[in-house]
Subunit: 352 residues, 2 copies
Amino acid sequence: MLGNTDKRAIRSYGDVYGTHRAVEPRGALPQPAWRLDNDFTRIFRGEVLLTVEALNLDAASFLQMEREGDPAAIVLRTVAERGKQHNPVTGSGGMLLGRVVQIDPRGRPAGEALAVGDRVATLVSLSLTPLRVDRVRAVRPASAQMDVDGEAVLFASGACAKLPTDLSERLALAVLDVAGAAPQVARRVRPGTAVVVLGAGGKSGVLCVAEARRCGGPGACVVGVESSARAADELDALGLCDAVVAADARDALAVRAAVLAATGGREADATFSCVNVPDAELAAILVTRDRGAVYFFAMPTRFTAAALGAEGVGKDVDLFVGNGYAHGHADHTLALVRSMPAVRALFEKRYG
Amino acid sequence: MLGNTDKRAIRSYGDVYGTHRAVEPRGALPQPAWRLDNDFTRIFRGEVLLTVEALNLDAASFLQMEREGDPAAIVLRTVAERGKQHNPVTGSGGMLLGRVVQIDPRGRPAGEALAVGDRVATLVSLSLTPLRVDRVRAVRPASAQMDVDGEAVLFASGACAKLPTDLSERLALAVLDVAGAAPQVARRVRPGTAVVVLGAGGKSGVLCVAEARRCGGPGACVVGVESSARAADELDALGLCDAVVAADARDALAVRAAVLAATGGREADATFSCVNVPDAELAAILVTRDRGAVYFFAMPTRFTAAALGAEGVGKDVDLFVGNGYAHGHADHTLALVRSMPAVRALFEKRYG
């Protein structure tokens, strides 16, 4: 094996999406592919080689592995079999923390400020990231993280973020994990907009609320819906919501009644669903006004439940799949947290 | 049992969504509910009582029942058990054809022109429509239809369409089944817009192409992608596309290459996916320009594949769940078919 900092040969070909690393089936896109080439003795056009320090798994994947057995052993097996940490049961990945070893600049984004030695977090899923894990050094169940020794590459289309020096690493990782939500809120909310956030006390929910207030100012109406009493209290204490409603987002009619009671009967212009359980589609649809917008950031959202749910109740709203990527989303969301001391303090307490 | 045209007592309560008919669990919304009250000896506030003549099942549901056994017997069993034709395996419903027996106008949409005796098709799924089936008179596998004797009710929020007299019933049903797509195209396409339609030779695909040309005129660039040679030929013969590309939408890279070859390298401003197979999410994302829009009308679309797929390739596009309902969608789509003789002729040949 090459040492961590040894230069690797660079092949002159390779595409921005990483199809050159797909082994099974050959030439596929790396996420749907079963197995990726994780031989890093050479890299390809546009790739960034990273040493890997930690894997930040998604909570659902970690829980599944705990139920199945020893998460460390299962990760080693998955990565050996697939060349990536793509949980075959949940279908999900996570992100990783590492340091840049080598960069081939051809085809990479213009203006990218990335240098050898930078500590970075990847912003694309581990389910499409070629990875080799040599050893698991520690498992941290509370944060679904593992410290590992290994290597990985990022393709030219794969976003990553330099870790900021003014925030703790754990806080930065927690924020970057949900960086896609706030930029979408910023595109939609203006003074006067009525906003409802479902799952508003969770990580992405709080960021949506904060961004809605930042963009909408005192003239926006921001209602947070949260089922956990503790999270609802913490959200309320931020002073960002016009009302915090305690309701279970799976009970669409109760949510609608509670929201309308809080707003004096006004439906939302834009609703953001950050609920981490299934069956919350109808609540988001029912609190939104005719021709309003519903953004689903929650991964348990079911496509058919959203499409047929709106049809079933005759609601002409725009339904959005929350895109995990937006231009500048990492910097945008880190800046949001820096600009809101109360949000930053809450996140440091929870995730720092 | 009451005769078909006997007046039923009307209860003074009932909500627009039909929660008053949910028996298991009580008070739920009717789609997620396991069982609905299909006792039509009385109706509730805002309901329309229909005699049912035919069930128009979705193709996936019909196929599942054929594999399991006798579709007629299975429908009778499902409706007896659940009070609605909600296939417990596929989770899907269909629509029905019937005649209005009685209307309670309280809470119904303003300006609704619906009268006793009208022949109508329901535009909300059978998976949320209280239904009683007394007898199956005929099964027509080719069109996934059953002629039945029975009754049903529509809630105040449930859309239906009067069957037009100038189109054959089968053609009207086929068009109404996918009425939601064209109005969304009309909201998005203008002269100059570059449009890609995936699955463009199918029913909703052809309607998307037709609407894109109607709204975009000769100045729009409309590319249809279709994997079936026969459907591609039929689409091409309509003369509505700037280019018809033969490609399998599951091969995202091949689709992207073929579309860019046809447009001289221009990506789509708006892409509409009407592909009736899974794993077509990435093709739609990859052919769309930065900050463009992708509408998924295809029911096999997976939420996570769309959200994580765009993130994985770093594409900042707006991803839409195709809402099956839009204001005036039935009239809109019927008018589109009437205004395009070639489309009408093709649909009469296929579905009439």
